[in-house]
Symmetry: C2
């Protein structure tokens, strides 16, 4: 960004740009490491202006995490048509891609949400609900999953399984100790859902 370009941006656009930068910085660092100072340095603007836009470090973090959550939901939308299992495969693979590409930030969100930060927890729960609800919304004919209490519970459990398995694999892979290939990981996660649903009749 050059100064003349910046000066022509409306405040909402500038704030959007700063949020995008925050999301990008969060990909490979934790929330704790995503400071106002770092953002100011990377954006080439003053700390004072950042406080003007976001109010506080906490409010800045919540805004960045909300933007990242919206990104995640958008990027993991299944293709509009096709075989139900292929659509699930595409959406799930996109989720795995997202977690792997933003591992440090993702882990810090999970920990922040679980650790008692109420605003982060609310965003985390919203994302999980949105991803789970989508599985039912995208399948109104019940080709893959029918809408029963048992299936709702299993899809919620499958979300937790998926997160655990992907984060475990990512940690192993970063340590050079992964015992499954990426393709095996994808197949394991995608294959788990129909298998679970079949048990609930």
């Amino acid at each position: 960004m050059s100064a003349p370009t910046r000066s022509r941006l409306a405040p909402g656009e500038r704030r959007d740009q700063l949020l995008e930068l925050g999301v990008a910085l969060l990909a490979d660092r934790s929330l704790d490491a995503l400071t106002i100072d770092l953002l100011a340095e990377q954006a080439g603007i003053s700390r004072g202006l950042l406080y003007h836009y976001f109010g506080s470090k906490q409010a800045f973090h919540v805004a960045v995490v909300r933007r990242a959550a919206d990104d995640l939901i958008a990027r993991t939308a299944p293709p509009p048509h096709g075989d139900p299992l292929e659509r699930l495969h595409a959406a799930t693979t996109a989720y795995v891609d997202y977690v792997l590409a933003t591992y440090d930030g993702y882990v810090s969100l999970v920990r922040g949400a679980a650790g008692g930060n109420a605003e982060l927890r609310a965003i985390y729960e919203e994302v999980r609900a949105a991803l789970s609800d989508r599985i039912f919304d995208e399948d109104p004919e019940g080709l893959l999953v029918t809408d029963t209490p048992a299936h709702r519970m299993l899809v919620r459990g499958w979300s937790a399984l998926t997160e655990e398995v992907v984060l475990t694999w990512a940690a192993e892979e970063r340590a050079g100790a992964a015992r499954l290939t990426r393709a095996e990981l994808d197949a394991l996660v995608v294959g788990s859902l129909p298998a679970l649903l079949a048990t609930a009749g």
Copy 2:
């Protein structure tokens, strides 16, 4: 406990009694609410003596959580013999019983562990590893599960699924909004593992 009985206890026995009391108090309150003051009041001894036994509130919490973790592992041991699926059912039902009976303390452990308390996290990971490893150790002939990298990953994922499903059901049940019966919950969790393992061939 009467004073004469207390005075005859060796220090190790007294500390054990205090830990048991701490575990009992943790069942229906969070770690934050489990204070040295509360334990002193319930045990009828001085705060000073408790600091003598445990050193600090943090050390007291770690000792209580470790004792609770040992309890959990002991109480969820499968019966020594029998059909593999029936043994899994007994162990899993005992886990569900334990989480439901100690819901507030369990949730606070999960949050404390996820939220960045390194000692709580280590205990939590130990428990999860112990419960997962036991599924393989208890089945050396591979009647239910063979020891492959994919199965190890799936059992880890199933542990996360189980925790999520049981905590979700417990929260719903406390709000009078559970949509599955306890028997349906047990069947769903127990049935999930063989179904998952079957997908990994």
